[in-house]
């Protein structure tokens, strides 16, 4: 999985936001806000990552169980798919 081209992640007034540039469109009224975990996953997805790789990163960063990590990752991936910013194989 990889983030499509044409999106930027920026830190603004204490909040991580994702905005579309060029022809890209976000279905979330033009903008996404991310929490700390979301931002970490987003950065990994900019380079391309599998579901397991994302879950492993969440586990090592936040010391949560594999089950919790996978649930978080799945939820976040679903959010990105809904927003139309993810290329899935």
């Amino acid at each position: 999985m990889k983030i499509k081209e044409g999106f930027v992640l920026r830190h603004v007034a204490g909040t991580d936001v994702v905005l579309p540039i060029s022809g890209a469109t976000l279905s979330f009224r033009g903008m996404l806000t991310l929490n700390e975990t979301g931002s970490m996953i987003w950065r990994l997805l900019e380079e391309g990552a599998t579901r397991d790789e994302l879950a492993n990163a969440v586990i090592s960063e936040y010391e949560v169980s594999a089950e919790e990590a996978l649930a978080d990752v799945d939820k976040f991936i679903a959010k990105l798919c809904d927003a139309g910013c993810l290329d899935t194989p």
Partner: protein
Amino acid sequence: MLCKIADLYTEIPEEGGIAPLLEDYRVEEGREADIVIRAEEYRREASFLAGLSDSSIAYLESAAQFNYWVLGFGGMVLHASAVELDGRAYLFSGPSGMGKSTHTKLWQGEFPEAKIFNDDNPILRPSGDRWYAYGTPWSGSSHININMKAPLAGICFLKRGRENSIRRLTPSEAVPRLVHQTASRFKDPTRVDLMLSCVDKLATGIPIFELHSIPVPEAARLSYGAMLQAAKEIGL
């Protein structure tokens, strides 16, 4: 025609018959323009302009170009109705149909000195250590429009409600609301960053509120009281 808008010398083509709208902003020719609006770059074929008259296209596209270039001068547009009272500017923003104009009209009803100086697209721009709200020729269908500026005291996002209530937004709550009500779609990522830099400074430096309201005079007294107090607390 050379105009001065948001303290920027701006060359605007008279094409589309928009000269009467610009008259109050007109200045003597002969200075170098900070911003040049180009009629040949109006997106006449764009689907969102389909079926509009030449004057509507000139109005919308000159605004779009100004809103793009003003970012390079540290300012940004906010979709809002702007009112001045006792030397302070208060902006009421939100999606169309949320009652921005209705709310500033309530202010005029309650406070005879209140002046609505733009009803759709005021510009926010810093000067020294203050932000200023500026009237612009682009003021929506009501054409309520005064060429003036006032130091910005606060921004309030409007929501429909069953009763009147107001609360201060945190900077991270203010960010998405500001982004949604400014020009945010650009092909050039550096423009996105300029816009976000304005949003960051506004969200952290200006008191920002959310008002749930019904259109009664006490809604105006509620927003004025809360916004004035917050502005005074930080010396605005």
